[in-house]
């Protein structure tokens, strides 16, 4: 599905990603884990074409991505960003509809029903300005907006950030449900324990490189990881 080889990217002269190799196969949840500031969001931005890549290859669904955000969306690589980045001045309905601005426009009505079925809370608030939603609702909106583009791969950047423990649980359940419906997910998180519970494989990012990878079970059992991330 997604094959990334030797990916390098950064901001101006500062290189943040220093050769990243990852892959996501059909049907998987792959967790990309790491502490704050290691380059997870930068990786997502490079994959979705909003940040130029300085070296490396991104092959998606068998085709190299050209490095523009429109190409990534066209191909079905949909990135739900950290901090939601919804359109606060627009209604909930307008936000969701804009998810199909470029892809999935034909099936907009049907997909809208699907989003509302997944998030009944959003259906109750279609006319509300998105900026007035709670944090959890905004996260649902961001994911709903992403679903409108009929993703072939969904990249979720810290969907649990800033949510109450109860909502975090709900969010991880949702990711699992979306995946059970056949959607591959690249789950980028700092929340190591819960991510590993639902992921099939995981990568650990440190300082712009992958320092560990394996099945979720292997990673969970790794003593070094336990020490570094779980404080055990």
């Amino acid at each position: 599905m997604l094959e990334v080889k030797g990916l390098r990217a950064g901001y101006g002269a500062v290189e943040v990603l220093r050769g990243i190799d990852i892959s996501v196969s059909k049907g998987e949840i792959v967790a990309v884990l790491g502490a704050n500031g290691v380059g997870k969001t930068t990786l997502n931005k490079a994959l979705s074409g909003v940040l130029p890549v300085t070296a490396g290859r991104i092959v998606f669904d068998g085709v190299p991505l050209s490095g523009s955000s429109t190409a990534a969306v066209d191909a079905g690589l949909i990135h739900v960003p950290e901090g939601r980045k919804i359109f606060p001045n627009m209604t909930v309905l307008e936000n969701i509809e804009l998810g199909s601005y470029r892809r999935g426009k034909k099936n907009r009505t049907r997909n809208l029903e699907n989003v509302f079925a997944t998030f009944p809370r959003l259906k109750e608030r279609t006319g509300q300005a998105a900026g007035t939603l709670s944090g959890g609702e905004q996260q649902m909106l961001a994911i709903g907006r992403g679903m409108m583009a009929e993703p072939k791969l969904l990249i979720l950047d810290e969907p649990s950030l800033g949510l109450s423990p109860l909502l975090v649980e709900e969010m991880f359940n949702l990711v699992r449900r979306l995946n059970q419906d056949g959607l591959p997910v690249m789950l980028v998180e700092q929340n190591v324990v819960q991510s590993l519970e639902i992921a099939s494989r995981a990568y650990i990012v440190e300082n712009g490189t992958i320092t560990m990878s394996g099945t979720a079970a292997e990673i969970s059992a790794n003593p070094e990881l336990k020490r570094a991330y779980l404080g055990l």
């Binding site: 429109t70 939601r84 980045k85 359109f87 627009m90 804009l98 998810g99 426009k105």
Partner: protein, 290 residues
């Protein structure tokens, strides 16, 4: 003192003129709201559009209002191309650069107009320019009524565009959340150019509506831009309803203070409003709180 009829007539005339001010301010506030820049070439673009209308009339005898279907798309395309291929690439993402570039474009346009047409003042005289409609006790200028009606039509079309179409929604999305817009596949450079083009197209309509009662020379834009800027500040920078309301208010203030203080002092009322808004409500009538 003045009779109520004269005062009400002045108010109506002010509203009619104000509708055109709103139209001139529309592009300025739209470009500010979406691209977050002040387009210093706005006035010069209006002058160019008025010359285009005048030229079409002088060369081909096209009636001023019938130039609208010609100059509006032409100025949309012009605005699109200039933003997409000149301002955008030259800006390198730095707003300071954009200000200088639009200032440069403004100087370029004004000098091109001076070179082409000289500094003479030109107008399109016709019987219609002086036609009057009697509405009860009031005498109203036909051309101004048409101008206000035209502005209203543009405002409605604009509202439909922004609220009903994907392109309009994309414009509103880009205005507030560029990264989010990018990630749903909106091409931000394209939307910037469309926005800039729409601003120029609105100026072209305004030019066609103005020419029956106004004159044009290469520096005419300055007078309008000062007013338009006051309208935008009064309404709230970047607010489209604000520009509409602000235009009407400014038109009325100008008309009333002209009546009470004399034509030459009419603009003092506008100036006082500008200062008061800045002192009392710097975000304007419809401006965002923070």
């Amino acid at each position: 003192m003045f009779s109520p009829t004269i005062i009400i007539e002045a108010m109506i005339n002010g509203l009619l003129t104000g509708a055109i001010y709103a139209l001139v301010a529309l592009g300025l506030t739209l470009v500010y709201g979406v691209l977050h820049i002040i387009n210093f070439a706005h006035g010069a673009t209006l002058a160019a559009a008025m010359f285009a209308v005048w030229g079409l009339n002088a060369a081909f005898g096209i009636d001023t209002y019938w130039t609208i279907p010609i100059v509006t798309p032409a100025f949309f395309v012009l605005g699109y191309v200039v933003q997409r291929f000149v301002i955008g690439p030259a800006a390198h993402g730095d707003d300071g650069n954009i200000l200088l570039i639009t200032l440069g474009i403004s100087i370029l346009i004004e000098n091109a107009l001076l070179a082409g047409f000289g500094s003479d003042t030109r107008s399109i005289p016709s019987d219609f320019s002086f036609a009057i409609v009697e509405a009860g006790p009031f005498l109203l200028s036909s051309a101004r009524l048409v101008g206000a009606a035209g502005s209203l039509v543009v405002a409605i079309l604009f509202w439909l565009l922004m609220s009903r179409t994907d392109t309009g929604k994309a414009i509103r999305a880009v205005a507030r959340e560029k990264l989010g817009a990018n990630l749903v596949g909106i091409n931000v450079g394209h939307i910037y150019a469309i926005t800039f083009g729409l601003g120029c197209a609105a100026l072209a309509v305004a030019a066609s509506l103005l020419m029956p009662t106004f004159y044009v020379n290469p520096r005419i834009g300055g007078a309008f831009v000062n007013i338009a800027f006051t309208v935008v500040v009064l309404g709230g920078m970047g607010s489209i309803p604000g520009a509409m309301a602000g235009g009407l208010i400014i038109g009325m203030v100008e008309s009333l203070s002209g009546l009470l203080l004399g034509e030459s002092l009419g603009q003092i009322g506008i100036f006082i409003i500008f200062i008061l808004v800045l002192l009392l409500r710097p975000t304007g009538l419809f401006g965002a709180k923070a």
